[in-house]
């Protein structure tokens, strides 16, 4: 396990708090009708994006999902511009043309959320191919995906190629137990999604997705292995989708009390003190202060987003093509 400093741990907590506050704010504003379209929240899964992205460089790539706010924040996107994007404003990361499901920040290697479930594997693997075989640099690509997405054929094509050519890819499975309204057990042949890694001759590891330190350790190992040219790793992070599939989901397929019990038992923020590595200590007051700062940061982001303009007609035909 890599050494983690207190400063790093503080940073982990700070990132998780920012994601949590961001999602809570988005949820409230969506329900108030301030945000168009639909949004998918990452509440309860913050430790995965935080731990994985902490193992990456700015120049490394992330392919995200429709539930991608956490990945974007963890990879270092500007929270103000990200919020503005979710509000559909011209000052958003994508000039208001993408929204929640298509948020991207190429300046920090966040190559985009993807509205198509399972659409990211090939993109990440292709980016890794470019790095290793064409441009000969040591950039690593990470692709996040859920247990539902692991049933897409694209996973198998990408995993095979990545392993066959030892491409620098890390497959990060957020095993949150639900594919929209369908429990993974009813549609998936394997007990653990990472069992599939063996079919492609790549390491498959299972981590506690609620433990940011455990996730970070696994990610560091996988990223270093990829950078060394030894090929892809499959990380299965066990977690649970606390929110509905989307904001407004009536969740008729499960019991709210059960979900809340799981959240109570596994919330990566409330249990942070209990999982600190040896030698690192925080007081609750310290943590409260970090959370308050994150809340203030997100409130400012919301204020910024509300203050921005919507794109005008002149934007309409821009960027369909480069020339």
């Amino acid at each position: 396990m890599p050494e983690v400093t207190k400063e790093q741990a503080r940073k982990f907590y700070e990132t998780m708090c920012t994601i949590r506050c961001f999602e809570e704010s988005v949820k409230k504003d969506f329900l108030n009708g301030e945000i168009p379209g639909f949004v998918h929240l990452y509440i309860g899964e913050e430790a995965i994006a935080t731990g994985v992205c902490a193992a990456l460089r700015k120049t490394d790539f992330v392919e995200s999902t429709h539930r991608g706010h956490g990945h974007c924040i963890a990879k270092g996107a500007d929270v103000n511009k990200m919020m503005a994007e979710i509000f559909g404003k011209i000052d958003g990361l994508c000039k208001g043309k993408g929204g929640s499901m298509h948020v991207a920040d190429f300046s920090v290697g966040m190559l985009g959320a993807n509205g198509v479930v399972g659409g990211g594997y090939n993109l990440a693997t292709g980016a890794a191919l470019a790095s290793k075989m064409v441009l000969k640099n040591d950039n690593v690509s990470v692709v996040f995906f859920g247990d539902g997405a692991s049933n897409r054929g694209t996973f198998h094509e990408a995993a095979n190629v990545a392993a066959a050519w030892k491409l620098p890819v890390v497959f990060v499975n957020e095993m949150n137990c639900w594919a929209s309204t369908t429990p993974y057990r009813t549609t998936t042949a394997v007990e653990n999604i990472s069992d599939r890694a063996h079919g492609y001759n790549m390491p498959g590891v299972i981590v506690d997705g609620q433990n940011v330190f455990e996730v970070y350790a696994a990610a560091c190992e996988a990223v270093e292995r990829a950078r060394r040219g030894e090929g892809p790793t499959f990380i299965e992070a066990k977690t649970y989708r606390i929110e509905g599939h989307f904001v407004g989901d009536p969740e008729k397929y499960r019991k709210k009390e059960e979900t809340m019990q799981i959240f109570h038992d596994t919330d990566p923020l409330t249990h942070f003190l209990g999982i600190l590595p040896e030698g690192i200590e925080f007081t609750q007051a310290e943590l409260d202060e970090i959370l308050a700062a994150a809340r203030a940061k997100v409130a400012a982001a919301k204020e910024y987003a509300v203050g921005c303009e919507y794109p005008d007609e002149s934007e309409f035909y821009k960027d369909v093509y480069v020339d």
């Binding site: 993408g98 300046s107 659409g119 292709g126 191919l129 470019a130 064409v134 480069v322």
Partner: protein, 324 residues
Amino acid sequence: MRKITFSEATREAMAEEMEKYPEVFVMGEDLARQGGIFGQFKGLPDEFPGRVIDTPISETFIVGGGVGAALGGARPVVDMHFADFIGVCMDEVLNQMAKIRYMFGGQAKIPLVLRAPDGLAGGGAAQHSQSVESFFIHIPGIKVVAPSNPYDAKMVLKAAIECDDPVLYFENKVLYKETGEVPEKEDEVPYEIGKARVEREGKDVTIVSYSIGMKNARAAADQLAKDGIQAEVIDLITLSPWDKETVLNSVKKTHRLCLVSECVKQGGAMAEVAATVAEEALEYLDAPILRYGAPFTPIPFAPTLEKLYRVYPDDLVKGIKGVL
């Protein structure tokens, strides 16, 4: 002037672009070891070791990986073996390569070329003979080209590789072995994607086509000329975004329009041309628009049936004479 085949012309284009840009590479099925199933990659693997990549039979990876490689900073050329197989990776075309630039607010460029050999080749039947370009002119965000002769094949492919937008390059299987004049490199005139060419001037009717359809267009124009009818022949070359102006100007001159392609006529690329002329130049038409394409059936295998699937120059000649 030297004469080379269409296939050789595309190979030259690849070689010149790979020489010029180290970030250009090509991947697809059966390219490196055998030079492509139509010989269009012959010699490239030796010239550019490691940059001609044989992939597994994984079309979603070939195209999606190409898109990812473009995002990662490369300039990929990906090969579809047979154009029919784009059906396997439609999401990568429709939802990924075509959308990424726009939906991310212009942050990304996708300088990717998807090469797709298409068309009837004699017995290829339903899954190896189609001309599928029409699906893609319906998708904003990608460009669609389909050259009709060796010189264009080379210049259009070079332009496609240098283009920062995703380009679908349809190359007809029958045209591969056809020869044509191609100037030496120093005398080449670069092609600008989106431009059509008036290949032959005339005053009585405008015949518009592209790719293999141009053979019908040229042959019909020759036959009509024998009867004193002067057809203007336009090679669209780029199907999306297409050169409306050249077609409209021609129709304003000839007042008659005949469209021909090898793809299925219903909903075909030429329907867009017909509709645009009807929208923007109806008052210049002195005859109904004639449109020739394949019938609304899958492509049959038996030679007797495949014959019925094709369009012939006589069809155009007869139709044009009927509205003169």
